[in-house]
Amino acid sequence: MKKKVICAMSGGVDSSVAAALLKKGGPAPEQVRYGVNFEVMGVFMKFWSESKEKGNRCCGEDSERRARQVAKILKIPFYVFNFEKEFKKRVVDYFLGESKAGLTPNPCVVCNKEIKFGLLLEKALALGADYVATGHYALKREIKNKKGPYGESLKATAKIKNYELLKSKDKKKDQSYFLWRLSQDQLKHILFPIGDYNKTQVRNLAKKFKLPVTDFKESQEICFIKTNIQDFLKRRLKSMKGPVIEQTNKGVEKIISRHDGLWFYTIGQRKGLGLAGGPYYVLDKDIKKNALMITKNGKDLFKKELKVKNVNWISGNTHRLPFKIRIKTRSQQALSGAVIAKKLPRGRYKIVFSKGERAVAPGQSAVFYSGRKLVGGGVIC
């Protein structure tokens, strides 16, 4: 019997090609029989957005129109799910809460966990689907564990299926960073059809499948914000004035200005501080004193170690420590060498960098890689 797959479609080239690959099969080896094996249904998700205006917003009416058009060409059923309310509650309110607390949150990670592979997956399975597919640049690999959770070898028949999360073929486009919170339960039901291709190949596939995808703006940094984060926070949060403190030498501090709220700044930030006599960098946020710590010395931004909380291991099991990994502390940051040194109380972990890491911001995701494999991640504290 054909497996049922629900493909999340935003109207963009990536998710449109994902749907086409599922329906018609693709060049990647495991995709050859996609079209034969799958019954595909397209779903467009409506999210909350600050602006109701027309634009390139990935869940606006223009996008819905484009997605519907693609579904029509592919001759697949198409439905719209309205997640506005839940998205506002689970993603936007989280974003505001964390920002208010002086942290640098990552709403995309939460959206993937709670909405795309949370609500949508729940709804898809309730509809009798076997999989949810998305146009993420990431890969999933099915492996059979040769060993059980206690290291015992297993008979061939008793091998446990497990899923690995890998970086996509396109290293530049790779979006695995945003997927670190997924569980085995979720991965089991997920497909990433375009993870095997790079962006150019995806564009060519779109042409091959005759999909009318125009090159509109790439997914913005934060989809629900119309302009920039600062303006959004200014509109949504009441200002909370506090001192801006310069740290000149270790231990020497002086107040040089005032700020309107710690949430307008992120660690490592240089531009837009509006201070004369710079350049200055945001060094830290002192939440208790509501103080913004800045420095002229860029070297002060480098940290030797960090702590993470809410750690998720993709395999479902804690890895043996110490564990040598490559780590990414921001979505745009390059990978650095590090060691997960030890477990701390309250589920926290201590991570030591091989070299200093610049601008580590509490609230951001620290994601652990081992080769192409994403092994887990945590929230920087």
Partner: protein, 386 residues
Amino acid sequence: MSKNKIYLDYASTTPVDKRVLKAMLPYFSEKFGNTMSLHSWGQEAKEALEESRDVVAHLIGAKAEEIIFTSSATESNNLTLKGIAFAAKKGHIIISQIEHPCVLEAALWLEKRGFEITRLAPDKYGLIDPQEVKKAIKEETILVSIIHANNEIGTIEPIEEIGKICKEKGVYFHTDASQNFGKMKIDINKMNIDLLTASSHKMYGPKGAALLFVRSGTKIEPILHGGGHEFGLRSSTINLPAIIGFAEASRICKKEMKKEAKKLVVLRDKLIKSVLSEIPGAHLNGHPKLRLPNNANFWFEFIEGESLVIQLDLCSIAASTGSACSSATLEPSHVLSAIGLKPQEAHGSLRLSLGRWTKEKEIGYVLRVLPKIVEKLRKISPFKIK
């Protein structure tokens, strides 16, 4: 309609009857005149418009000059609430909690501008108690607006009793009859209705035509100003083809409504009876007897209505969870909430609305498919993300 597809969503909109389409066709390219023009094209159009007015007026016992053609029921309802409110300048308006969103939203808009709004709660069948209306009316009350037959659950309200009370109290009484106009007999005099909304596309006419009956002497302001069409109450070039279609649809309904209702009641009751007896955990929404001949509305335990509608769609059956206007949101229906359903119960709702071309064998097919889908959906254990 396509042969293998079963359309059971007549409450959201209906196909145009072939006879209606035939009547409309000359009015696009041959008799295309503007009703306001002096020349023969204009006169021809004006005559056709006034003849249409006679036809629809006749259906509810109104005088022709009391019929204002509009573009939609939403427009008619907005004209009623805002028009009466603007004419009175201030005052109190009574509606029910189970009105169509256009009445609810127009009332909310007026409330923000200083008008007082009372929203009456229905009983568990969706019935509004006329005594509650009586109690709510006060010195300042300028309008009572109660839906004639509910679009989601099909409950028919005691309009005649409410009308009588409004007449005694000297308050204007409006009813939104979008769902039942052309499907059951309406007598605006016997029912003491001062304003009434009806829509063409719910009764096998085209979209883009509707009406507001306004009793002579009613104090009401227009919301569209311009060339003074429709007795100064609704300026806009007349959409004659749509109005011709509306009138032809009314003519057909007048002739066939009794027979059609009889047939639909049999099919509806068969559907309701079988669903309730064959599907465990199925419940009827609305009143068992006082309901539209074509409306069946259920809620199923442990089922999400949206999933059900999608599964039915994949089986070529068109249904709806509630009204088409609210299917774009995840909010539980305000009507089902008002009749006391809990949010998870309201989410399990399914509306099947029958119509002119619904066949017995189609109902038979639905009755074969629906229990299987419900069973299948229930079997899939709810997946909670860990």
